[in-house]
C-alpha cells in the first residue's frame, strides 16, 4: 500500500467505517510508515480538539434574548394565521425572507 492510498482511506479509518480486511491492510501500513502514523494521529487529535473546544458557545444572556425573539415571532405568525387581514402583527423585519426553505 502506498501512502497516497492510505490517505484516501483515512476518513473511513478514523470513523471506523470500513471492512476488516481493508482495516488490517491500513494497520499493517501504519506499522512501518512513520509519516502516515503521525498524520493519522495528528488528524485524530485535530478532530478531538475541535470537538472538545467549546468554540462558539451560546452565552446565556444571548440565548434568552434569542428565545424571546423567536417566541414573539412565532406568536405573531400564529395570530396572523388566526386573524385574517392583520399584517401589522407580523414583525417588520425580514418578512421578505419568510418563504419556505428550498
Amino acid at each position: 500500500m502506498k501512502c497516497s492510498d492510505f490517505l484516501k482511506e483515512l476518513t473511513d479509518y478514523l470513523d471506523n467505517t470500513m471492512d476488516a480486511h481493508t482495516k488490517a491492510e491500513l494497520e499493517e501500513h501504519l506499522q512501518w510508515c512513520h509519516n502516515c502514523y503521525v498524520v493519522c494521529n495528528t488528524t485524530k487529535s485535530t478532530i478531538e480538539i475541535y470537538r472538545d473546544s467549546k468554540l462558539y458557545e451560546l452565552p446565556d444572556e444571548l440565548r434568552s434574548r434569542i428565545h424571546s425573539a423567536i417566541v414573539t415571532k412565532c406568536r405573531c405568525h400564529k395570530s396572523s394565521l388566526e386573524s385574517v387581514g392583520s399584517p401589522n402583527e407580523l414583525p417588520a423585519k425580514k418578512t421578505s425572507e419568510q418563504e419556505p426553505s428550498r
Binding site: Y50, E57, Q98
Partner: protein
C-alpha cells in the same frame, strides 16, 4: 418466544411528539425544540458565517422558518436534520451577502489533490491543547477554521463537531455521500496542516 405478531410499533419519540404538538400550534412545544437545538444551530451558523451577529440572526430566522413550515416537514428525516438544512441555507445566504464578490456555495469543490496532501509531518506535543489558555486556544482554532472554504468547514462542523453521521450530513446539505467524504477528508487534513505550527513538538519537549 418473540414472533412477528408480538412486535409492536416503536413508540413515538419525545421529539416527534413535540414536533406534532408544535405543528398543531403549541408554541410551548416548539420552544422545547428551540431549547434542545439552539446551541447547535448557533455553532453551525457561526462556523459558516464567521460573524456573531449573522449567527444570531441565522438562529432566529432558521427557527422561525422551521415553525412556519412545520406543515411541510414529512418526518422522513429527523427534525434536527431538517432544521440544520434550513440553518445552513440561511447561513450561506448571509455569507453571500457579506461577500458578494466571491462564490459561496455548498457545491463549491476545490479539485486539486495537492491542497490536502500533508506537507509538514511533525509529531505534536502530548495534550497540545494544554499549551494554550482556553481563550488563546479558541482564538487560534477560530482563525484556523476560518481559512477553510465554506463548503469544507460546513461539512467538518456538521460531521466532526456536531456529530451528524455521514448520511445525515449528506441529507442536510443535499450532497452525495462520496462528496461529503471527500470534503471531510480534505477539511480534516487542511486543518491538521494549519494546526501544525501551534501544536508541533518543540525542541526540548521531553514529555513522552
Amino acid at each position: 418466544m418473540e414472533t412477528i405478531e408480538n412486535k409492536v410499533a416503536e413508540p413515538p419519540s419525545e421529539e416527534s411528539i413535540l414536533v406534532e404538538a408544535a405543528r398543531s400550534g403549541d408554541i410551548g412545544a416548539f420552544e422545547s425544540l428551540v431549547r434542545r437545538y439552539d446551541r447547535s444551530v448557533f455553532r453551525i451558523a457561526q462556523h459558516i458565517t464567521q460573524n456573531r451577529e449573522d449567527a444570531e440572526d441565522v438562529v432566529q430566522d432558521a427557527f422561525l422558518k422551521a415553525y412556519q413550515n412545520l406543515g411541510q416537514f414529512q418526518g422522513q428525516s429527523k427534525f434536527y436534520t431538517w432544521l440544520v438544512r434550513i440553518a445552513v441555507n440561511e447561513a450561506l445566504m448571509r455569507l453571500r451577502r457579506r461577500r458578494p464578490e466571491r462564490t459561496v456555495s455548498i457545491d463549491e469543490d476545490i479539485k486539486t489533490d495537492e491542497d490536502s496532501m500533508p506537507r509538514e509531518i511533525a509529531d505534536w506535543s502530548p495534550n497540545p491543547e494544554q499549551l494554550y489558555t482556553q481563550a488563546e486556544l479558541k482564538d487560534l482554532l477560530g482563525k484556523t477554521i476560518q481559512g477553510l472554504p465554506p463548503s469544507f468547514r460546513t461539512v467538518f462542523v456538521l460531521r466532526d463537531v456536531e456529530g451528524l453521521s455521514t448520511e445525515e450530513t449528506a441529507s442536510a446539505l443535499e450532497l452525495s455521500v462520496p462528496a461529503v467524504k471527500s470534503r471531510l477528508l480534505r477539511a480534516r487534513l487542511q486543518l491538521r496542516e494549519r494546526l501544525n505550527k501551534y501544536f508541533k513538538r518543540r525542541d526540548g519537549d521531553t514529555r513522552p
